[in-house]
């Protein structure tokens, strides 16, 4: 089985995340790390490989520093890596990113492509559906339990209404939720071995796509401005004189949350 796992290199830590007021993009100049949600996807891919044999390819799109995240996945046990890195691709939105990733994945002839459930930096939970459409493959998202057998993939996933069980034939695209597994810590041997695993970097033109399809040029959404959030409103503070419960009810009713 050949499994590809798409990972994203995101700025480290909520305390230091900042949006650059000039570029209006997330400041990615500081330290970065693998999107924590993607580690569940890497873990799931490794479990499938350990159970059924095959290989796991890590795929990422980002600046050179994304190598760090790719290496973490290799340290966990992935077999090789493919990094799409090109200045032209900076600032790609969903349309552009999906185009580039799909172009990178197409020639790899994978049986299964895994994604994590969202990116901690943009909180979008959308990339895999766009990539699946481009690759013309069935997609299952938010999977909390995954089984791969007999050329099919079956996923149990949580929606607003409870759990669905969805089945699709391979080749397929699956996005796993963080409830699916507990990602392993890379062993020291794994970390040291990561450096010698095959890692390729490709540019946008090597993928056969036009620079106009990626980056700002290829994006169909734009960021206009940054603002302060709307004020929360003043805090109403009351001291209980025995009537607090009634006052609370009144307040909740007024705010239409009761």
């Amino acid at each position: 089985m050949k499994i590809a796992v798409c990972v994203k290199h995101v700025p480290e830590g909520t305390t230091h995340a900042r949006i650059n007021p000039q570029t209006k993009r997330l400041d990615r100049s500081g330290e970065g790390a693998i999107n924590p949600f993607d580690t569940h996807a890497v873990e799931e891919a490794l479990r499938i490989k350990e159970a059924q044999g095959g290989e796991v390819l890590v795929v990422s799109m980002g600046p050179q520093s994304a190598q760090d995240s790719v290496r973490k996945a290799l340290a966990m046990g992935a077999d090789g890596a493919l990094l799409v890195t090109d200045d032209a691709a900076a600032g790609s939105d969903l349309v552009a990113t999906a185009a580039a990733l799909a172009a990178a994945l197409e020639p790899e002839s994978t049986d299964l492509i895994l994604f994590g459930q969202q990116a901690s930096d943009s909180d979008g939970a959308v990339l895999w559906a766009a990539v699946a459409d481009r690759l013309r493959r069935p997609v299952i998202s938010q999977v909390a339990e995954l089984t791969v057998a007999d050329g099919k993939v079956t996923g149990k996933r949580q929606t607003e209404f409870g759990y669905d069980t969805i089945e699709a034939p391979l080749p397929a695209v699956v996005a796993v939720s963080d409830a699916i597994n507990e990602p392993r810590y890379p062993s020291l041997k794994g970390i040291m071995g990561a450096r010698s695993k095959p890692q390729r970097s490709v540019s946008v033109s090597e993928l056969g796509i036009d620079a106009g399809e990626v980056g700002d040029a290829g994006s169909r959404t734009v960021v206009q401005a940054l603002n302060d959030p709307p004020p929360r409103g003043d805090t109403v503070k009351i001291e209980d004189d025995g009537s607090a419960p009634e006052k609370i009810i009144e307040y909740l009713a007024e705010k239409k949350v009761l």
């Binding site: 699709a168 401005a225 940054l226 929360r232 607090a244």
Partner: protein
């Protein structure tokens, strides 16, 4: 503006968040239409007129019976192209996120998600997106058409303005791969309470409860309000409540419509897990607790007295 609003439905009901988006679309003006996709769902369509749809497109096919996204991409792509729609709006859900993203790829159309508001500015449609834990709002736009938007569920309330919608059937072709996924078992409303990530109401308990037994007060209020129970790191560390209910930096991040914090001081490690909740009510006997700086309603008092009475009043009101 020619807007199309995806009207998600479940067990014979059009979903409230979708109707809210429809009402907003009507407010923004232009031609507003809804679309209902499924099997045996034609009857749901006319009701949308009351919420602002001048027209509701319907595709009623057996392949659309289950709430799977990819067949719906085929439907919407065809509809958008045929009808010259320039804006497609979705109330965010597991289904609509996959649908909107697939549609974005299919049409090469820009998709902005997690919007907390949608406005017209100088003739342009602008979305307002909270980022970085709601600490900054980003104005996002589109540089082409059609424009796709996923709006945070529950942002807009449905407004019944009266009116009737013209219902129009439409047809389209499925792509082979769209029919690949099949639903073996479909979810239905859970009988137990919601998990804290999905709950609209959360009642949370902290050290101020005093003893683990007092979590009962929290549970009863949660039940009366139809919500879920959450806990702070301190009480989870002390073994009073399970880690799965921990809200905070090293636990879960939640944003329910209502968050009631009982005996919680509001240290930042907890705050970052719940600060974007709709309405925050805090009950604490310490008037200097940090939580009083960022809640909406702060009650300084004894939670052991207040919470049971509050629970009783809620029960009365609901019956």
């Amino acid at each position: 503006m020619a807007t199309l609003v995806f009207l998600e439905h479940h067990e014979g009901q059009l979903q409230k968040p979708a109707l809210g988006v429809l009402s907003k679309a009507a407010e923004l003006g232009g031609d507003v239409a809804g679309v209902v996709l499924g099997s045996g769902v034609r009857d749901l369509a006319p009701a949308a007129g009351a919420y602002g749809a001048a027209k509701v497109y319907v595709a009623d096919k057996p392949e659309l019976e289950k709430p799977l996204p990819q067949p719906r991409v085929d439907a919407l792509a065809a509809l958008v192209r045929e009808q010259g729609i320039d804006t497609v709006l979705f109330a965010a859900s597991v289904l609509s996120a996959d649908l909107a993203a697939g549609l974005s790829a299919r049409l090469g159309a820009g998709l902005n998600w997690d919007l907390a508001d949608l406005v017209q500015e100088n003739g342009n449609l602008i979305g307002k997106r909270p980022a970085l834990g709601d600490s900054v709002y980003v104005d996002v736009g589109w540089n082409g058409e059609p424009r796709l938007a996923l709006i945070r569920a529950g942002t807009f309330d449905p407004k019944e303005a009266g009116g009737k919608a013209e219902v129009e059937d439409f047809d389209f072709e499925f792509e082979d791969f769209s029919l690949g996924a099949t639903m073996l078992e479909q979810a239905h409303a859970e009988s137990e309470g919601p998990s804290i990530e999905d709950a609209d109401v959360i009642v949370a308990g902290g050290r101020g409860l005093g003893t683990p037994e007092n979590f009962k007060l929290v549970e009863e209020l949660a039940q009366a309000l139809g919500g879920a129970v959450a806990a702070t790191r301190a009480v989870v560390d002390a073994g009073w409540y399970p880690y799965a209910t921990q809200v905070g930096q090293t636990g879960k991040t939640v944003s329910p419509k209502l968050y009631v914090a009982c005996g919680i001081s509001g240290a930042i490690q907890h705050k970052v897990g719940m600060q974007s909740s709709g309405v925050i009510v805090a009950i604490n006997k310490d008037p200097n607790a940090p939580i009083f700086d960022f809640c909406d309603l702060g009650v300084v008092g004894d939670l052991h007295e207040i919470v049971p009475k509050l629970t009783e009043l809620v029960r009365q009101r609901k019956s």
